[in-house]
């Protein structure tokens, strides 16, 4: 990924602050039983806007960079592993949830699992490349 330019840095940092701020504020208010529905909606939108700004800045920098090389192959492999894990895991858990009484989970769980799976796969593949 190329270096982020000034506006992208601003978008990334600002987006991160909005995302964390919105999510933490909503969490704290929810824990205190003082989160109203309109307030929750506003804080959710703040967090979503921040998330979009952060991801958008990263994607713009990534698309500007030269994505040739073994990194592309490793990113594709990590993406395939992620899709496999999330689809198989998601379907398996949905059956256990429906028929075995496992607790319902928020949509944030598969998102976090997908992110973690991709990062672990990518790191492992990169480590393999360095070890050779």
């Amino acid at each position: 990924m190329d270096e982020l330019n000034r506006s992208e840095w601003l978008a990334a940092v600002g987006g991160f602050v909005l995302f964390v701020g919105g999510a933490v504020a909503a969490g704290v208010l929810h824990a205190r039983d003082s989160l109203t529905v309109p307030g929750g909606a506003i804080l959710a939108v703040v967090a979503i806007v921040g998330e979009m700004a952060l991801v958008g800045a990263a994607v713009r920098a990534l698309l500007r960079s030269d994505t040739e090389g073994v990194e592309r192959q490793d990113a594709a492999a990590a993406s395939m592993v992620t899709v496999l894990v999330v689809v198989v895991g998601g379907l398996a858990y949905s059956l256990l949830e429906a028929f075995a009484g496992l607790p319902r989970v928020t949509a944030a769980v598969p998102a976090a699992v997908a992110l973690a799976t991709w990062v672990v796969s990518w790191t492992w593949l990169r480590g393999e490349a360095r070890a050779e």
Binding site: D66, E68, G69, V70, E71, R72, R126, A129, R130, E132
Partner: protein
């Protein structure tokens, strides 16, 4: 696996992997992976390396015989 002469060509010029990576505008891991057969280059990288060494692509890379074995040169069979 597509073979390549990168280690030989690099040694002839006394270039390190990092130096070749810099000249071809790729990461050092890409050169390492190319040399040990973990990665087959895209056409873009193959042409970059050909330009760096001043050789045709075929002067650096050699095709996988098993892969070429799947190619058919027979004329299309006429339907009966």
């Amino acid at each position: 696996m597509i073979g390549n002469r990168l280690p030989v060509l690099r040694a002839e010029r006394r270039w390190s992997q990092a130096e070749l990576a810099r000249r071809a505008h790729v990461s050092r891991q890409t050169i390492v992976s190319l040399e040990n057969g973990r990665y087959e280059p895209t056409l873009k990288i193959a042409f970059r390396l050909a330009s760096v060494f001043g050789l045709p692509v075929e002067g650096i890379f050699s095709p996988d015989p098993d892969d070429l074995g799947q190619v058919s040169h027979d004329p299309v069979a006429e339907a009966p």
